[in-house]
């Protein structure tokens, strides 16, 4: 720095850099800027000490404050639970019908039930109950075990063919594989079932099938195929089919029926959550 060049006009030193005859002045940074920079360094060091930061040989430095985002989250959850108790206490003491009759509780339950449904039920029943192959749509008006609030509540609680003493469980004989009916009889019955929902059929076969149906199927499905909620026997006279309404699917269902399962949610979800989920499911299509 022996011979620093000075700018004649301002008397300020130049940096010695020159571009097209224009020289750069060495204008000092303000002190406050420097101290702010130091303060940032100090802040960073303080942060390392107070919060979890560096890896060590055994895990990582925990920080003097012992802060973890997981711990903060758990605390938030506790707080949230306490805040929600205003609602959840009411829900736990009321029946599902009473909840649905109270507009405020209804709105709360639908919102809460929505997230419960999305986390637990949507993998099978689809988002917002839109259904999946072999899993019933919950947004329509066709219900296997009944679509009243109470019926839905019971189904969610105990499941279908689940490991629970109160579970809903229906059975349909293996008409084909147990050789109760001959393949011809099954074919005729299928033709008749198709006619119940107004589809194209072979009238002669359907006529024969009517007797087969009356003898073997009507006990559960009703003589007009209207279904029985108490037994979980589907209605066969509408356009909604759980396992497809194609004839081959109907034949296969009579020969060796598929029987769906659903877990019992008691024990996995709290009773309040089950009520909320039931109210939500009922709201998807208005239930019955």
């Amino acid at each position: 720095m022996a011979n620093v060049e000075k700018d004649a006009i301002t008397g300020t030193e130049t940096t010695g850099h020159e571009w097209d005859g224009i020289k750069e002045l060495n204008t000092p940074l303000p002190k406050w800027w420097l101290y702010t920079f130091y303060a940032c360094i100090l802040f960073a060091i303080g942060y390392w000490i107070l919060y979890p930061s560096w890896p060590t040989l055994h895990g990582h430095w925990q920080g003097l404050l012992h802060y973890t985002s997981r711990g903060a989250f758990a605390q938030d959850q506790l707080k949230q639970k306490a805040e929600r108790s205003v609602w959840t206490d009411k829900i736990s003491s009321k029946t599902v019908d009473e909840i649905a009759a109270d507009p405020e509780l209804l709105n709360y339950s639908i919102a809460a039930g929505h997230s419960i449904f999305a986390n637990n039920c949507a993998p099978c029943h689809g988002t917002n109950g839109s259904g999946n192959k072999n899993f019933p749509i919950l947004a329509d008006d066709d219900w296997l075990w009944g679509g009243t609030l109470d019926a839905i509540y019971t189904t969610v609680q105990y499941g279908i063919r689940a490991k629970n003493d109160n579970t809903r469980s229906d059975s349909m004989p293996n008409f084909g594989t147990d050789e109760i009916l001959t393949p011809t009889e099954i074919n005729d019955a299928a033709e008749y079932v198709l006619s119940l929902s107004g589809k194209q059929t072979d009238p002669a076969a359907a006529k024969k099938g009517e007797t087969v149906f009356a003898d073997n199927c009507a006990a559960c499905h009703g003589d007009k195929g209207q279904g029985t909620h108490e037994l979980g026997a589907p209605r066969l006279s509408d356009g909604i089919w759980l396992y497809s309404g194609a004839k081959s699917a109907i034949v296969s269902q009579i020969t060796h029926p598929k029987l769906g399962v659903m877990p019992a949610w008691t024990g996995r979800l709290s009773n309040v959550e089950i009520k909320e989920a039931a109210v939500y499911v009922h709201s998807l299509g208005g239930g019955q």
Binding site: K6, T10, A100, S130, D140, D142, G285
Partner: protein, 486 residues
């Protein structure tokens, strides 16, 4: 150029032997007290603005039972903002955007007309700094006394003065920070809670934050906020033109400066430096318009006091436009042009935006509808073949009374509605009630026979009419109705 010369006057040219310093110390500005017209205006604006700021949260406004009775309140938990008779919902936050736009245009207009009047008279930084300087002057004395005090050794008296000054500043800062919080809660309750230690951590956190920023910005940073931190001086020159009135030194009249009027070649400026001594940002206005000058006009007061004493014409430093100054220099008639394309454009914009906002505020139906169509499932086929779509229907009732609405649909033939929580299914019209000042949320299912569907997706209109004699509000909202592929 101006910045460099500014440094030069403070430091003096550096000597060659001096080691180059990488960091420059801040040069403290010691503004001198001056009386005059503009100082009086500044006091008046200071009283008015600070008075408004500290007192407004305490104005009560009866809004009936259950509603906050604070006239100006931003109620975060309840998501409402109140301004006297006006209530703003989160959905209407565009009014805030409108006010910001109005503020910006207003600022452009004021700047185009009279330079940095906002900076010099009404900017919070200026106002609080002014207040803090007044305190400083009361405790530490005049400019000379303050300079001597700072240059002198640390005596008991100096310590006492410094401590009491900072204590006073901190008290003002606490009151300032506290007043800010009153705008976000019921002021009397908040004050009681804050004094008794019952307020939430958030409240104390913000109290600390606002106190600290007031103390630092108005006490320590002062003019540095204007010169280094504030973006406004960097581009306000875009609002200037040669007809804008700005604080100027009439160089043609003042120069060459001189102490005594011994010969006629000497100008009116006696080089007393008073204009620079009173300047809160340490500017020598005689060097021309500068970034640091906040347009506070105190140098006008200063020079006028000198000119009065010397019995010379006033306004050597004055509010003047460049074109006017040129005209005067040439002896041509003065001419102040306030109406110019630029100012007319700003005023027109101001009127239009203000008009739109006022119209919007007056004509608010105080009911708004939000409709969310179910996306999954898009539609459901029912057992009898009918197609059903689901909607979440929200009615925002912004009035303080329960209202009853009648909901019907249009465009889709033979459509019927079922609303969850309301008895009666498949109806052509449904009665919906929404409580005072709340959002009513309803699940609405619309069902139509397949023959009614003209396409895979078609328009469906919900018509919501308020029933009862009091109002004829009607809100139409169009959404989509989906069905299977045609």
């Amino acid at each position: 150029m101006s910045v460099i010369s500014h440094n030069e006057t403070k430091n003096g040219p550096k000597k060659a032997e001096e080691k180059p310093s990488l960091y420059a110390s801040h040069i403290k500005v010691y503004p001198q007290r001056i009386a005059g017209t503009f100082r009086r205006i500044k006091w008046l604006t200071l009283y008015t603005l600070l008075g408004l700021y500290y007192l407004v949260p305490w104005i009560r406004w009866d809004r009936g039972p259950g509603a906050p009775s604070q006239a100006v309140l931003i109620d975060m938990p309840a998501r409402r903002a109140y301004f006297f008779g006006i209530e703003i919902w989160p959905q209407e936050v565009y009014y805030l955007a409108g006010i910001l736009i109005l503020g910006a245009i207003g600022l452009f207009l004021a700047t185009g007309l009279a330079g940095r009047v906002w900076c010099g008279f009404t900017c919070p930084q200026t106002v609080w700094t002014d207040l803090f300087m007044w305190v400083e002057r009361k405790i530490e004395g005049s400019r000379n006394k303050r300079m001597k005090l700072d240059a002198g050794p640390l005596t008991l008296e100096k310590a006492a003065k410094k401590i009491s000054k900072h204590a006073a500043w901190i008290v003002i800062s606490i009151i300032t920070g506290g007043a800010w919080i009153f705008y976000y809660g019921d002021a009397p309750t908040m004050l009681k809670e804050m004094l008794t230690g019952q307020a939430s951590q958030t409240v104390y956190g913000f109290l600390f934050l606002f106190t600290a920023t007031t103390y630092l910005l108005a006490g320590w940073a002062r003019e540095q906020v204007c010169t280094y931190m504030c973006p406004w001086p960097r581009f306000q020159s875009a609002m200037f033109d040669e007809d804008t009135l700005i604080v100027t030194y009439e160089a043609w009249r003042g120069e060459p400066r001189g102490k005594a009027k011994t010969d006629d070649k000497i100008g009116d400026c006696v080089d007393c430096n008073l204009c620079q001594n009173v300047c809160p940002t340490g500017v020598d206005i005689r060097k021309g318009s500068q970034l640091e000058c906040i347009g506070c006009a105190l140098c006008i007061d200063a020079c006028n006091s000198v000119m009065t004493k010397l019995n010379r014409p006033l306004n050597l430093i004055t509010y003047d436009s460049i074109s006017n100054q040129n005209a005067r220099q040439e002896g041509k008639p003065e001419r102040i042009r306030l109406i110019r394309p630029r100012t007319v454009a700003y005023m027109a914009l101001l009127t239009i935006v203000g008009g739109i906002m006022a119209y919007g505020l007056l004509e608010r139906p105080r009911v708004e509808v939000n409709i969310q169509r179910d996306r999954s499932p898009l539609f459901v086929t029912l057992s009898n073949g009918d197609i059903r779509n689901g909607y979440t229907f929200k009615i925002l009732n912004m009035l303080r009374r329960e209202r009853t609405f009648n909901l019907t649909t249009e465009y889709v033939d033979n459509a019927t509605m079922t609303v969850i929580g309301i008895n009666g299914r498949d109806r052509k019209n449904v009665t919906l009630k929404v409580g005072p000042d709340t959002v009513g949320t309803y699940r609405v299912f619309v069902k139509a026979p397949p023959q009614s569907l003209k396409a895979e997706s078609q328009n469906l209109e919900f018509v919501l009419r308020e029933t009862g004699a009091q109002s004829h509000v009607e809100v139409d909202s169009t959404t989509k109705f989906y069905g299977p592929k045609k």
